[in-house]
Structure formats: structure tokens, C-alpha cells
Symmetry: C2
Subunit: 346 residues, 2 copies
DNA sequence: CTGAAAGCGCTTACAG
DNA sequence: CTGAAAGCGCTTACAG
């Protein structure tokens, strides 16, 4: 905060102009239309000119202290190294700068104690509101935060009783099922993600329900929880294949992973077991991250509007901060078919 | 900043205890050893007890205003959706919270005007220092920032005249070359990254130099610049293959991509052209991101200590802020061999 | 050992 | 149209 040359203050501007600091402050805040109340237009022009020349930037700590508004937003995500969350955060940041807010992000690794402690740190910084990208579906912790009167919005994952911006994950699961059923698959498996995340829960539910409508059952042992990353997808797939070997019966001809990275891990594991993705076994992922199209076997994936989710999340939070209401939103996913499920798709 | 229930202030603590606010402040800051000067130990105990009970958290805006220190650090990265930068940022955040600093991150997409404007925004927030993960190798912009007296450290990329924490990229390039030469490859190509990033420049230089030592020349048209992502790697590979077709002569038997994502794009393109990665053509990446090992054809990669780079970067910045000197560091990379270059590696 | 005062840089009713 | 004052919540020499 002491970057070499001393910062320009209102007082310095006032001294040089022979005006009172309060006049300078008013002039700098005057909207073009309501300019008449602040100062004469000539004075306003002089003040603004000098402020520009000296590069005046209001000290945000002083402003925050005085106005009781920090224009700061705290963002919690499981991990920024997850492309899904990073992309969502880019949307949040973009929307924040459009409305003059700054954001703190922090990684909680989905660990409840870390969620707690980082929330306290963020609140200690006197943010105006928060965005949670790491909600547990039960929402117990969030109930406490809400009770403290902190405005917040959930993104990516929903939780009972709180406002969220999510992908319509249930629909996304249905789209995946429809696609695979249409290709004639009847022996299906799901790599379902973490049990506490609504994303995995809803995508799995949509998938299973749509299958049931077609008279196809996805047996419980074919639905395996997993971390939302490549190693997680690999492990889940090993579990899946091992249980098939143990029980006998037909191996799954198609695998739906609720996340692209888990899908990539699944592709690796399937290949290790001599099964060729796209021809021997179909794989469908979720999110349509930028990697999906570029893989050696391009990955069929349900695209979720991650960037947009971040943007809307911030905009809703901004409404809340302004004292307006905000309602949950579900954005529509789109299926993109590629060679991992349909060799004809190139 | 108005989360429902009013925040506890020093004044509230002082009133309840019948003490002066300055006494409360001193007591709360007293180190256990130098406690005698602050207040009697009985008083200190009373004060701390009440502070704990009421959950007192100092208002950081007031503290910053008074102390002229914000304990805030600004971090600029090209994009957080690049796993390399995201992992580095996790290291920065971790180290920051260990020393009581908070961080702002922002994406500049390697666009100079965005770097400028975001730097100004960050500085307007009165940060105590900055970390740049998006340095251009020429360092012109950074010279200006340095001239303004802002303490900062570069991570990932170096730039002439500024302190940086990088991977020893030159050595990394040499390791990649040594590996491929040892496998008998003589027709080599490089996907070299962006021309303004020292990472790509140094990795390429190390690779080319090591080849030269073995009497192997990497022709200029076999060194292709690229974006640091999968689409970039795919495009660069297409360029490479097209130029080979045009000129005739042997196609490259091995490709070194200065980034794992570019390598993934390269693998996709090679496969599209009917070349099997691992057997027909070797591919080596850089960074050893968590995806490398999980790909259908696991990727040989030079591991760079991304997390550690972030940690050290913040620690050096903290030294600078404390008025101490800081010297550039280069962390050592390690080659991990996998099937993309050596089928025997499984 | 504790209190009183000044001041960090700003905003905002209130005068005049 | 402009000025003067109060105060946001804290820290820190300085008294006593």
C-alpha cells in the first residue's frame, strides 16, 4: 500500500485548487445529469481535470469505512484447478468488474472445515456478499450463514432453501440417456461424482429416470461415486469393471460420467482393459470443457454454460446486495455428440 | 459489509468492559511475551475473553487506513482456466494465508491492454504488492510498474531485470531432447508456445541446444508457435504436417510440445492423420499436469513444480514487502516417461 | 498500567 | 454554489 510515490488524496486536490475537500468529493461523484447540486460546472471541470492529471484514485479503505460498503465479494470454490470452476469464476470476475465489484476467490477442496474457516476469513474482510460454488446438497452450513444475514448465491450446485444458478442437470442427464438409448445401448453405467454434490445427483437421476421410461434399468452396482477428476474416473471405472467380472453378465456397453475429467479417466481405464472407446464402448461426459473436442478420441459431452452461470450468479448477488429479491435459475444444457459415443460423428 | 447483525467494534468491547478503546486495542495485539507493556495480564485476559465471546474481528478497512498496509496482494494470470496457472495460484493462496495476506486474482488473457487496466484496478485497491504470472519476456510494461515503486514478483515466466520464480525451463527442454534422442529419434519438431512467453522460449532453446550437441538439427520450419491450449496444439500440428507434405522429406518422428494441453491437441491431430501416438510418433509435453497420466495414451511430460512456484513467489513477495531483498529462483524440472513416447513405459 | 488525542481518507447531511 | 463538521473503526505515540 506504499508503492513508492505517495498516493494522491482528496486533500491534495483541494489544496491545489483552493477548494474545500468536500467540494472536491462532491464534484468527483456528480453524475453528468445531476451535476448542478455538486458544484458549478466550471469548478467540476477544473476538479476533474486535476484529478485526471494526478491520477487520483479514491482510497477504497477510506470509502468502505465511511460508506459501510466494501464492493468486495467472496467466492468459494472446491478447486480452481478444476476447469469447470475456473471457467465459472471467469464469468463471475467479468460480471463483477462490470458492476464495480472486486472478488476474492478461495479453494475449499470440498472439506467442510475449510469451507467454514475460509468463510470466516472472507467475512472478516467485510465483503458485501458471497458466492458459493462448493455447496453440499444438504445445505446445513449455508443455513447458518443465511441466519447471520449474509447475502449469498450458490453457483453450479444447488442446496435446499437457497438461491442458486445451476445447469439443468436433471435435463442434462436425460439428454445423455436419450442419446445412448437411441444408439441401442441397454447395458449402462454411471460414474456419479461425489455424493454431496447436487450436480452429480441430478445428472444421475435424470439419466436413470430417462432409462426407466424406456424400460431400461441401471442397476445400483452400476452407479459408482467418484471424485470429479481424471484419477477419480479411472478408479470408478476399475470398480465398475471389477464388479462386472465378479458377478458375470454383460459388461456395460456405455458409460455416462457426470464430469468430463472423470470421463477422461474412464477412457484411460477402459483402454487399459482392451476396450476401444467409441467402438467397443461408448463414453459420454458432462460440461463440454475445451478439452473434450481435442482429445485423441473426441468426447461426447453435455455442455453446461459454465461461464454464463458465473455471470448470472454475480448478477443475482448484486441484486441481493442492492436489497432486491433474486430467484434461482437453471440454465439449459446441450448435448454435443462426438466419436467417443458415435464413431460416425467423426 | 452489513451482514445482518452489526459488527462488533473495539468501542463496543471497551464499553462493556469499562475500559478505554486504546487499552483494548493494545491488549488484543500484545504478543504473549511482551504482554507487560500492553495491560495487566488480568485485563488482557478479560479483554480477550469478551472478544472471543462476541466474535470480534477487526475491521480491515479501518486497520488498513490507519496502518497504510492492506495485507492484500494482487495476482495477474493469463487465465485461471489454464490448469498450470490455477495450480500455481493454489500455491500462492496457500502461502498467503500462512502469512496473513489475502489475494485478488484476475485474468488478463495475455492481452497487454488488459494487463494494464487490471494492474491499475489492483493498484487502486491499494495492494501491498503484486504477482505477475503473465509477464512478456521483454518486460517493458513491468519496467513502468517497477518505476512506480510497486513491489512485485514474477512467477512462471521471467522477464529481464525483474525477480522471478520459474521452472528451469531450459533444463526441462534439454531433458525432453535427451529422452527422445536416446530413443533414436532424429527428426524432431517443437510446438513452441507463444513467442512472448519465456517458458516456451527457454524450453525450446534447451531442446534445440541439446539436439545440436548430438549433431541433430531442428529445422526452423519444424518449430511452430502456438497458443498454450489444446486447440493451439492441434493447429500447430496441422501446420507442421502440412509443411512436411509440401516440402517432402521424412515426417517428424517425435514432437515436443512446451505445454501438456498443446500436447493433447497434438495427439488428437496426429491421430486424425492416421499416426499412432507412442508407436508411430512420440509426443512429449510439459508441466505434467494431473491429466497427463490419465489420458488414453498416457503422456510423457516434464514436470514443473507449479504449486511450489506459487508458494515461493508469494514468499519472496512477502520479503519484498517487509523491505528485504529477494533473488530470482529456478526450480528443477523432472522428466516422467509414459507411453506417448515409449510404449515400453506402459 | 491505563487513558486521551490525533489522524488515516473519505462521504454526507447541514449551513450559509 | 461552496464550506465546515462529524464520524466510519482503528493504531500509536504520548501522558500520567
Amino acid at each position: 500500500m506504499d508503492p513508492g510515490r505517495p498516493q494522491v488524496t482528496l486533500q491534495m486536490l483541494a489544496d491545489r485548487l483552493g477548494l474545500h475537500i468536500s467540494t472536491v468529493s462532491r464534484a468527483l461523484h456528480a453524475k453528468p445529469d445531476e451535476g448542478r447540486r455538486a458544484a458549478s460546472s466550471a469548478t467540476i471541470a477544473r476538479i476533474r481535470k486535476l484529478a485526471d492529471e494526478l491520477g487520483y484514485r479514491p482510497n477504497p479503505h477510506a470509502t468502505s469505512l465511511r460508506t459501510q460498503r466494501s464492493n468486495l465479494v467472496g467466492v468459494l470454490v472446491p478447486r480452481l484447478s478444476d476447469l469447470v470452476l475456473a471457467t465459472m469464476y471467469e464469468g463471475i470476475e467479468e460480471a463483477a468488474s462490470e458492476v464495480g465489484l472486486s472478488t476474492f476467490v478461495t479453494n475449499t477442496r470440498d472439506v467442510p472445515e475449510v469451507q467454514r474457516s475460509h468463510t470466516e476469513m472472507v467475512l472478516a474482510r467485510r465483503v458485501d456478499g458471497m458466492i458459493f460454488g462448493d455447496a453440499y446438497v444438504d445445505g446445513g452450513f449455508l443455513d447458518e450463514i443465511a441466519a447471520r444475514g449474509v447475502p449469498f448465491i450458490l453457483v453450479s450446485r444447488r442446496a435446499a432453501g437457497h438461491t442458486s444458478v445451476t445447469c439443468d442437470d436433471y435435463l442434462g442427464g436425460r439428454l445423455a440417456a436419450e442419446h445412448l438409448l437411441g444408439l441401442g445401448h441397454r447395458h449402462l453405467a454411471v460414474i456419479a461424482g461425489e455424493p454431496y454434490a447436487s450436480t452429480g445427483i441430478d445428472r444421475t437421476a435424470g439419466f436413470v429416470d430417462r432409462c426407466a421410461e424406456e424400460g431400461v434399468t441401471v442397476p445400483a452396482e452400476r452407479i459408482v461415486h467418484s471424485a470429479f477428476d481424471a484419477p477419480g474416473g479411472r478408479r470408478a471405472t476399475e470398480t465398475l469393471l471389477a464388479s462386472t467380472n465378479r458377478r458375470g453378465g454383460p459388461a456395460p456397453s456405455a458409460v455416462f460420467a457426470v464430469n468430463d475429467f472423470a470421463a477422461i479417466g474412464a477412457m484411460g481405464a477402459l483402454r487399459d482393459h482392451g476396450r476401444r472407446v467409441g467402438s467397443d464402448v461408448a463414453v459420454v461426459g458432462f460440461n463440454d470443457t475445451s478439452l473434450a473436442a481435442e482429445l485423441p478420441v473426441p468426447l461426447t459431452s453435455v455442455r453446461s454454460p459454465m461461464h454464463q452461470m458465473g455471470r448470472r450468479g454475480l448478477q443475482l448477488l448484486n441484486q441481493l446486495i442492492a436489497g432486491q429479491a433474486a430467484e434461482s435459475e437453471r440454465l439449459t444444457p446441450v448435448l454435443t455428440v462426438r466419436a467417443s459415443s458415435d464413431p460416425a460423428a467423426g
